[in-house]
Symmetry: C2
């Protein structure tokens, strides 16, 4: 792997902001991604143009991240811009992964687990407060918090900020208390699955959209999807892993899985978040488009 | 029509730059758009991700246009960024229409033919020189110029700049000498077809991608496509108009037309440029996404 940019002779080179927006777009143009909005189909209330508008709207927040703004400031602005479409939450989880990765991409050193962990560890209570404020822009599906954490329920938005301050919790601390969440897990593990999936995309062949589709099914076959578990419970989440493992590598079976998931409202959105983050890393490493 | 922004309660409002990028994206997500890369299919060497990367890469040039940079400076930067992908020319013609429209959108007054004509009339010889320089970033299909205009062949790129200066030609003058070209025609007519098509999109119902697909076929049924004429000659261009007129309004016939155009390499790319410009105007006028 190298960190050479995938620039072409005629162009000026894509920077991390452009690669983050392109990752958001490629992930909705890749297909099949069973159960998600993809190039092949919309879902009932959520259409491809909502994701396109979300990717465009996130630009200003991503630019702030690349310019060195605090993670919370950049994230809240990215979510506010992403939300400027009528489909609801499209890319909140993607941005929670992309913002620290963009910060890591503009830092010294290679884009890897150490660099992004340094970004995570640099977060403050103010970043946590901005993270909570971001929930005011859009409805995000989250699991019921345990009773002792009701005060810190993300759905309280800015109302939870005094409790954050009282307990002196940074954004990294907040993520560490949500380890059942697939995206929070990336924050606490040096983005382990993100980099692993980025390597799979990097090492694969063919158009990037095909690589992303294959990596999505592989990921789905390995880890329970948080959004599926939140919406349908742990048994369905475990069943999705099994079904993806059975289908993987067989395009016809994957297409059938996609149709079945759409039919029954199974939307593995957290896996899609991870794939977007991994696509960003793969683009930064030099995968050509 | 109003110029109210299509912002939602949670969001921060899309400005002209965001709407221009969204127009570039919606136009490749709309389908069918017979003979073009769209949501349903790629072409042999040109894939959807090339358009996604082009739309992202164009952002910096579009931001410069919105900030008041000269049309030529903004256009050349947008083309340089658009070209930073391996598919070749994706959106040169779109940007030639979008850059003056973005300038018009940030000017005083409503976004209409008068405002954009004022932008066109403000262009200088320096803008013309930057337009020629933009051809150095990417191969653009153009018709052979008449013998007396060989010195001003756009394919000469920056080499034609001394001839431009000698003849004191502004970018508006250059466009006026290329009136056989569908995009140049917009420059010389106050973007007549752009605004007419924007009104059709605005007045239509349903998701914006469906409106764009219908407006595309309607446009194709009315005007010869410059790119088709350049690549296949005037007889094929006239035949495309007739076939689109026969198919329009019948989804099955439109799908067959699409398949036939893809099969025979008929790519009405100039009509796609016009639709992108019209989509931008419709978004600025308040069509919701």
């Amino acid at each position: 792997m190298t960190d050479a940019r995938g620039s072409t002779p005629g162009g000026v080179g894509r920077g991390p902001v452009e690669n983050a927006q392109l990752a958001l777009l490629v992930d909705v143009a890749a297909a099949p991604k069973p159960g998600n909005v993809d190039r092949d189909h919309d879902l009932a209330e959520l259409r491809i143009e909502h994701f396109l508008a979300g990717a465009v709207g996130a630009g200003e927040g991503l630019r702030r991240a690349a310019a060195g703004a605090p993670v919370g400031v950049a994230f809240e602005r990215a979510v506010a811009g992403m939300s400027d479409q009528s489909g609801g939450n499209t890319q909140f989880g993607c941005l929670l992964l992309l913002v620290p990765l963009v910060r890591a991409a503009v830092a010294d050193g290679p884009l890897d687990g150490d660099t992004v962990t340094a970004v995570v560890e640099s977060t403050t209570v103010a970043d946590a407060a901005d993270f909570y404020r971001a929930f005011e822009h859009v409805d995000v599906a989250v699991e019921e918090p345990p009773a002792e954490l009701t005060e810190l329920d993300v759905r309280r938005g800015a109302d939870a900020v005094p409790a954050l301050r009282e307990r002196d919790l940074t954004l990294a601390d907040v993520m560490a208390r949500s380890e059942g969440d697939g995206n929070a897990r990336e924050w606490t593990t040096g983005f382990e699955r993100t980099f692993e999936t980025a390597a799979a995309i990097y090492d694969d062949d063919g158009p990037i959209t095909d690589r992303v589709s294959r990596a999505f099914v592989d990921r789905l076959a390995r880890d329970e999807d948080t959004l599926v578990r939140t919406n349908h419970g742990p048994e369905v989440a475990a069943e999705v892993v099994e079904r993806a493992a059975a289908a993987r590598g067989d395009p016809e079976a994957v297409a059938e899985l996609d149709a079945a998931f759409v039919e029954t409202g199974i939307n593995p959105g957290t896996t899609a978040d991870l794939l977007t983050a991994a696509t960003f890393v793969a683009l930064e490493w030099g995968v050509e488009v």
